[in-house]
Symmetry: C2
Subunit: 355 residues, 2 copies
Amino acid sequence: MNMDLLNKTINAIKGQDKAIRTQAKERLDQLIMPHWALGRMMDLALDLAGICGTVRPTVERKTIVVMAGDHGITAAGVSLFPKEVTVEMVRGFVNGFAGINVLAKQAGATVKIVDMGVAGDLTELAKRGNIIDQKIAPGTANFAVGAAMSREQATEAIEAGIRVAHELADSTDLFGTGDMGIGNTSPSSAMVAAFCQLPVAEVVGRGTGLDDAQLEKKIIILEKALVLNHPDPADPIDVLSKVGGFEIAGIAGLILGAAAAGKPIVIDGFISTVGALLAGRLAPKSKEYMIAAHRSVEKGQLAALADLGKEPLLDLQFRLGEGTGAAVAMNLVDGAVGILTEMATFSEAAVSEAK
Amino acid sequence: MNMDLLNKTINAIKGQDKAIRTQAKERLDQLIMPHWALGRMMDLALDLAGICGTVRPTVERKTIVVMAGDHGITAAGVSLFPKEVTVEMVRGFVNGFAGINVLAKQAGATVKIVDMGVAGDLTELAKRGNIIDQKIAPGTANFAVGAAMSREQATEAIEAGIRVAHELADSTDLFGTGDMGIGNTSPSSAMVAAFCQLPVAEVVGRGTGLDDAQLEKKIIILEKALVLNHPDPADPIDVLSKVGGFEIAGIAGLILGAAAAGKPIVIDGFISTVGALLAGRLAPKSKEYMIAAHRSVEKGQLAALADLGKEPLLDLQFRLGEGTGAAVAMNLVDGAVGILTEMATFSEAAVSEAK
């Protein structure tokens, strides 16, 4: 198996520039306000300086990459919506009237859709632009009865995400992740259960709106699937291939590619955080490039965030995905850069300091 | 005492349009996503429709009004910064390099500064624009030794805020509140203690950064001041005049004026929330126009928010004031309007609905 691109990318991730972080901290300590009075936005400013390797980072050109893929596990009845909705939602993204279109526009971000493995033909739709074709297969296999994908496909899918990051890096200062894939809370929960060695019931939520009985059924299906596939938590590719998804792999690849290019990347909700968990297991230093956007309603995200050591910026009770939380959080990234680069220090402003 | 403007304004506040809220809810229920999957932004969209009286509200023209005033209580040693910093910070706002300038710019909002009672001459600075003169007096009296202001001044100050709202309403779709006034967490805490009948220690915080001993001193000063002044919680003007501040009165007036004009108003942190508490006590229906921006580090805000029945949108560990939290939250208001007015419904998009 050729893993050159993946290994090269992992090796290229340097981590934040500590000297620049120190310089940024010195400036932020002296801004005209009580010390650190803009709290988490100042922590964020430090990260942005460290990631971008400059005390004057730019985040003007924003790209939200929505990774789309389908899931064989929907055949087991884990979702309220039929698989066909994935294609229909991608059409919505292209037409520009879905949640992510509206919130990306508000944040001044461009939306790119990547077909990582949609179970439908997007050729006609792709002619209208904005869809990047990286299709590995038309949906994963049903991991209730076997592996979701082969080991080769798992690596290929991550590398596809890396290639997307490379392609966009020259025109992007700030990346955001997003996902679309009916049924994708199931592989996400299974991956968290496997990586974090937690009982399925602790990491499964209602997805698009399951009732109690449907939720119970989802838990049992995932418990059985994990016993059947027995993913090895120490082997990220094994976890991905056995119980993962193509769009989750694409998100992980996008994060690795962004990190290797020295770009900050805003991580959306549950599915994206699982992609981040995978990226973090493959390349621990990639965590230094991640900005956790929001706390999802899906409880499996909690364990993934804890594993990554991240506290999300927002808690708006979102459970949509698509990159919607990442889009909203991009406004805070803009603000953080403004604080670092546009505010005056006490001495610049000649304002009396605290006694 | 002439309270015509105040009474007229209170009587003009109608509350949200329930029929329009219902119409907005019907549309939001059908948007192309799992039901209510953008959570609190959809709740916010409902409020905006109800406030603006239309299912197609506009929030494009944003104005953040920073009410500035000084406090005689600083003579008692309740703040780390000298009173002179109020003027210096107002100079910072005019020069455009303070926190509020940066975050308002990011949100696309205009900043207006109102001199409600700064203890310094702003005439020269005012020539450079952006300062509205409504000065009641050069700072309040020290309420550690007597009332902060007269009953007449209290009413005048609220009416000054109402006039500012009237003046700006024609060019403003969305208001935001802000404050500047060295020492103003002290009157704010005293007002919350008085209105909510809570022990001072439960509603006092570290302000610009007091240590434990300084905090203890602040609590004792405020406890004594409340015993001395004995404000009547059932009489909002009494509470304001005895232990309040001019800028807090101005914020309350701004909120009442915005509500009477049918405009939504984003409430910043602790000081602004106390202004909102005062407005809510004067005119309970004004609460329907308030959007709570963020949870402040100052713990006194909690009781004020609970009294208003508001849950803030953000928690970014801000403790600056100036309207900085309101500015950041305006991005979410923009997003909420986008969701209501730009997303498609399932039938418009012809996407399969949930089973």
